[in-house]
């Protein structure tokens, strides 16, 4: 696995962004994404970019780390830019390349779409870089709490998410172990006929599933032994704290949004 790929990774640091309530970050990212989709003018993009850059600086995660970590994404962004350059056929012809005409509207559209993509990825990456997966889960659970009255299994969903997070390293280790065991029995995962390779994948997946089921069974029994009976009469140990810092950040965000709509016309 490419270790420098940072999407979804958490970087522990002590920064104001890390200290924010996960709910605050989640709500802001949500509305930021919505707003970004309605951005049309250059100045509105500038405002959005400034907010994201401000967040990135305040997170104290090294900017080079972010730029490098997003490297695989740059490719997608540039591809998006080029595709739009050739597909859009509105406005005046600026110049032509290999016999293809490039229109001025196309350049603007391509710039808009790719900056939009960039901002979305930057903001969501900032969220995962500064928030532990389990806090995100907690935030999702509390934010969706009103839906419980509609009989949606919010607690169960959140528990499922947190247990999956808990077992990801375990399963990675297990996959490594089983693939080494099967390789020792002469299997080759990389070369050979597609039928053989399919068989090789089965030799890996079946033991992995069996062991995951066994783990699930053990875990269910351990949870039951410790008095787990669903959401019934349950309290929570992890708490999310909404502080004055969160309030300030929300106010800044509201001002940004107002400024955005002002410049967006």
């Amino acid at each position: 696995m490419n270790q420098s790929f940072i999407i979804g990774q958490y970087v522990p640091k002590e920064s104001p962004v890390h200290a924010l309530d996960a709910r605050t970050k989640l709500v802001i990212v949500f509305f930021y994404v919505l707003v970004t989709f309605s951005a049309e003018t250059l100045s509105s993009y500038l405002i959005l970019f400034l907010f994201a850059a401000f967040g990135a600086v305040m997170s104290r995660v090294h900017p080079l780390f972010i730029v490098k970590g997003l490297r695989p994404i740059w490719f997608i962004i540039i591809l998006t830019f080029i595709l739009h350059l050739f597909i859009q056929r509105q406005g005046e012809v600026l110049f032509s390349i290999f016999g293809y005409a490039i229109y001025d509207q196309a350049v603007i559209q391509a710039a808009i779409i790719s900056s939009r993509l960039f901002l979305l990825i930057l903001m969501t990456t900032l969220l995962t870089l500064t928030t532990t997966p389990i806090s995100i889960t907690d935030a999702v659970e509390t934010l969706l709490k009103p839906l419980k009255s509609l009989k949606l299994p919010i607690h169960e969903l959140a528990l499922m998410m947190s247990i999956s997070l808990r077992f990801i390293p375990t399963l990675i280790e297990e996959t490594d172990k089983i693939s080494k065991a099967q390789a020792s029995r002469g299997i080759d995962f990389r070369t050979g006929k597609w039928r053989d390779r399919l068989k090789a994948i089965f030799a890996l997946l079946i033991p992995l599933f069996i062991s995951a089921f066994k783990r699930a069974e053990d875990l269910a029994m351990a949870m039951e032994a410790r008095g787990y009976r669903g959401d019934y009469g349950r309290t929570k140990f992890r708490e999310l704290k909404f502080t004055s810092l969160d309030l300030i950040v929300f106010l800044i965000f509201i001002i940004i949004v107002i400024g955005f709509f002002y410049f967006n016309g």
Binding site: R166, R215, A222, R226, E239
Partner: protein
């Protein structure tokens, strides 16, 4: 503390009873070692003690409360259980979260929880690891966290269901030392399930299971005298006991059957100073 009255349990109707008409009782504050080879019914017995399984016939009572579908939630507050695989009983994403899990289930208020989680972690000497993720811990450390999770609920009985089987020698030592430490500071009934008789030597009493029945019960010294009989049902007495048996046959008689090396050496020293 725990009473079994003619208890039978079978996993399905076609197979025989995993536990067969078993009657026994475990006293308050006793450290019981439950031993037997794999498949002797000892783990089934453990799961019957806190209502993870309900008996097919017969009755079980814990602390005066008779086990049934209506009472098992109550009984689980009294009987905590540490399982074999350290990995598969770790529910939380960090040590603290895992210890709190049982308390959350019981609806303990948060301030109380924070106190109890810290206290329990200090008791098993894992407090400095409170923010660690489970994949950073050794097997022995995970088992200690599991014990803390149970201590936080303040039960009367802790069952160790082959909790040492998957640990390396250092991990086993860690686990036994933790239990010995607990016994010094608290009143607590311990049921320790194992097939390793040198671990069973630390118990007050050993119950030997075979074919779903109680095959023998007695103090470790008494039980270890039946070397041949135990080996017939797939068990092996501790090395020190077999060495002593060899000495005994050749005329060396000690006051009491030695359970571990120190007892043997000390007694031999006394004996030889008389010679």
């Amino acid at each position: 503390m725990i009473e079994f009255n003619k208890v039978s349990y079978s996993y399905d109707k076609n197979s025989g009873n995993a536990v067969d008409e078993l009657s026994m009782s475990i006293e308050q504050n006793e450290w019981i070692a439950l031993i037997g080879h794999n498949g002797s019914g000892k783990s089934t017995l453990a799961k019957l003690m806190n209502g993870l399984l309900l008996p097919t016939s017969g009755t079980i009572s814990v602390d005066g409360l008779s086990l049934s579908e209506d009472t098992y939630w109550e009984i689980r507050k009294k009987v905590g259980m540490v399982f074999q695989n350290p990995e598969n009983q770790f529910v939380g994403t960090t040590v603290m979260d895992d210890v709190a899990f049982g308390l959350e289930n019981l609806g303990v208020p948060r301030e109380e929880m924070v106190k109890r989680v810290s206290a329990a972690l200090k008791e098993v000497d894992m407090y400095s690891f409170k923010d660690q993720a489970p994949n950073r811990l050794s097997g022995g450390q995970k088992q200690r966290v599991a014990i803390a999770g149970i201590l936080a609920i303040m039960p009367e009985v802790i069952i160790f269901d082959e909790a040492s089987t998957m640990l390396d020698p250092n991990g086993k030592q860690e686990l036994l030392e933790t239990i010995k430490g607990l016994r010094k500071t608290k009143k607590m009934t311990i049921v320790y399930i194992t097939h390793d008789l040198s671990e069973a030597a630390y118990a007050d009493r050993i119950i030997v299971m075979n074919e779903g029945r109680q095959w023998m019960s007695g103090k470790p010294r008494e039980v270890f005298q039946y070397q041949n009989e135990l080996s017939e049902i797939g068990l092996e007495i501790p090395l020190i006991s077999s060495i002593y048996a060899g000495m005994n046959e050749h005329g060396v008689k000690l006051e009491k059957e030695p359970l571990h090396m120190k007892e043997l050496v000390d007694q031999l020293w006394k004996l030889s100073s008389k010679m």
